[in-house]
Amino acid sequence: MAEVLDVLVRIASVMVAFLLLPLIVGQAEHKVMAHMQARLGPMYAGGFHGWAQLIADGVKFMQKEDIIPRAADRRVFALAPGVSLVPYLVVMAAIPIGPGLVAADLDVGLFFVLAVMGVGVLGSIMAGWSSGNKYSLLGGMRSAAQLMSYELPLVLAASSVAMAAGTLSLSGIVDAWQWWWLPWQAAGGVVFFIAGLAELRRPPFDMPIAESELIMGHMTEYTGMRFALFMLAEYVGIVVLSALTAVLFLGGWHGPLLPGPVWMLVKVALLSFVVIWLRVSYPRLREDQLQKLAWIGLVPVALGQLALTGLVKVLIV
């Protein structure tokens, strides 16, 4: 009985985090962007500084007509938002936020997380292909190209940490973390974060969406709840990326004074803020420039980090 209860509590807490954190990040994006741009952002919904804006948006999305274009491949079209959302939910279950505080502590957590995150991109390729719209198609193709080039630096950077800790378990990595890993793994951390941004298709790497070129890319034909699911996937993605970066490179729950989970949340919040900040201040890269950045910028840096990690490991042991 206690075991069943334990599992239920874990599932419930992941669900709560899954539903709550993206909303907080989304609301923070509204407000942070607004204040950076000399405006106020939402002010009315819910009364106090528009705190309920995203809930209101959700209600609106639910009331909207669910349109599937005649030219669309119905099944794939309907499935795509789910495919892009669910992987992030699964990933969330594997991320530890405190010692022992993890829904599913896997021995190969890192491997699992990276593998599952890659699936999310399939959703946008499916959406782009099935919409029967030229803009969506271009968006889907751009997504595919982006995934291909950014998976590699992402994995290389992550494997450097795994090498340093000598384990693939996310909890194990955080346990092994020392403060001096910060400078040691800094280059890898930057590569991981940038590659993660590109995988999430967040600005400045949002050319699959690029509203001024491709309207909304693979999401062009989506309305109502399905569109909302895509948006939700984007914000869950931010949370997941920030949490993973915190776990792998910033020491997860390590930190003075405050309790572990609080430190973890603080780190996630700070990284999410950086994600928002980048959106406010950068134009969008072109697709070929992005590929160039990945192949001649990030991959060599990640390889260099890997070599450095190996070198230091050999010297210490």
Binding site: M33, M36, Q37, A38, R39, K134, Y135, L138, M141, P203, P204, D206, M207, A210, E211, S212, E213, L214, I215, R279, V280, S281, Y282, P283, R284, L285, R286, E287, D288, Q289
Partner: protein, 381 residues
């Protein structure tokens, strides 16, 4: 059982790629209205481009022929809705020249001032919208914050925020309100002081440079062939500005600095726009100083009830914010023009797209389209 040899390039025939025709517009966010571009795409590379215009054609030139000169001003200020004052100017200059009418000196200086404020408004709009097309959302809000300041002073004198209708044949509609010069000066100073906000976000930004440097290069020859004018021409080294080269209004007495670049790419066009904005603010300051010194006097002429322009023809061209804006006025001595031909800047400027788009990617198409600084109403008239 058949034996198959599979080597490099196998299946290439079956997987033959074909060109895709993509219609950008008439409803597309980066066309600012209803311009349509018919692109032939090979992957994302443009193999041919054809601008299709006319979705917003309202027959302005034909309507001019059945309106008297007071009404024409209202029609004329609408085709380029971002430079309403500059559009009015050509019409009244043409009519005044035909009538041989002397405009009061205060009106001349006030017109110059308003033309420059209007230019600043127009350029601010593009300084905000161009980065937006490249994915930078913030400059738009900064630009609109500054626009609001200038719009407020223009609204105070004319009552309009876009279509001022402040020109009259023979001068301006009304005198400037008391204390307005000071408020206008403050607005100009404030706008100038906050320009570094936009500049700092963009001009040194690596991504912005990567997206605009060497993209959409227009050479001098093509500019001349297509009659491209304004900031786009000056970015390709065509050093021509009517304010300096054929002064109208009070520009002859003002030190008009003409911003030019030689690169001819999107970045050069953006830089020219930025420098022109600075120059406009300086010119506005000079006009304000001069207006403050001028002795009181009339600001317009008393017109007859029925304004008839004597028989003849004239061509009045002015340096509109987006380029050369000309009116060819033919009158047969009636109260309406016999013909009023409008030469608008954007119409000529977008024609050149056919030349520069092929060979670029779709993403560059947006960068180039945005850097052509056009207003669809100005194309379609």
């Amino acid at each position: 059982m058949t034996e198959r040899m599979v080597g490099i390039g196998a299946g290439a025939k079956e997987l033959a790629t074909e060109d895709m025709i993509l219609n950008i517009g008439p409803q597309h966010p980066s066309t600012h209205g209803v311009l349509r571009l018919r692109l032939m795409l090979d992957g994302e590379r443009i193999s041919s481009a054809e601008p299709v215009i006319g979705y917003m054609h309202r027959g302005a030139e034909k309507l001019f022929e059945v309106r008297d000169y007071r009404q024409i001003i209202m029609l004329a200020n609408r085709h380029d809705w971002l430079s309403a004052f500059a559009n009015e100017l050509g019409v009244v200059l043409a009519a005044e020249r035909m009538l041989g009418m002397e405009v009061p000196v205060r009106a001349v200086w006030a017109r110059t001032l308003l033309a420059e404020l209007n230019r600043a408004l127009n350029h601010l709009m593009f300084l905000g919208s161009y980065p937006l097309e490249l994915g930078a959302i913030t400059p738009m809000f900064y630009a609109f914050r500054e626009r609001e300041l200038i719009q407020a002073v223009l609204e105070e004198i004319s009552g309009g925020r876009m279509h001022y209708m402040f020109n009259r044949v023979g001068g301006l509609k009304e005198d400037l309100p008391a204390g307005w010069l000071g408020r206008a000066g403050q607005a100009v100073a404030q706008v100038r002081s906050r320009l570094p906000d936009i500049e700092g976000l963009l001009l040194g930004n690596d991504i912005f440079l990567a997206r605009t440097r060497g993209v959409g290069v227009l050479d001098r020859h093509t500019i001349m062939q297509y009659g491209v004018s304004g900031p786009i021409a000056r970015a390709s080294g065509v050093d021509f500005d009517l304010r300096r080269d054929e002064p109208y209004l009070a520009y002859g007495e003002l030190p008009v600095k003409v911003a030019t670049r030689t690169a001819g790419d999107c970045h050069a066009r953006f830089e020219v726009l930025f420098e022109q904005l600075r120059v406009s603010l300086d010119l506005a300051d000079a006009c304000l100083a001069r207006l403050a010194e001028l002795p009181p006097g009339p600001i317009n002429q008393r017109l007859p009830k029925v304004l008839k322009v004597p028989e003849g023809h004239t061509y009045a061209w002015t340096e509109s914010p987006l380029g050369i804006n000309g009116y060819y006025l033919v009158s047969r001595g009636e109260k309406t023009p016999w013909r009023l031909k409008l030469r608008s800047a954007s119409y000529n400027n977008v024609q050149v797209l056919r030349e520069i788009l092929p060979g670029h990617l779709v993403a560059d198409m947006v960068a180039i389209l945005g850097s052509m600084f056009f207003v669809v109403g100005d194309i379609d008239k």
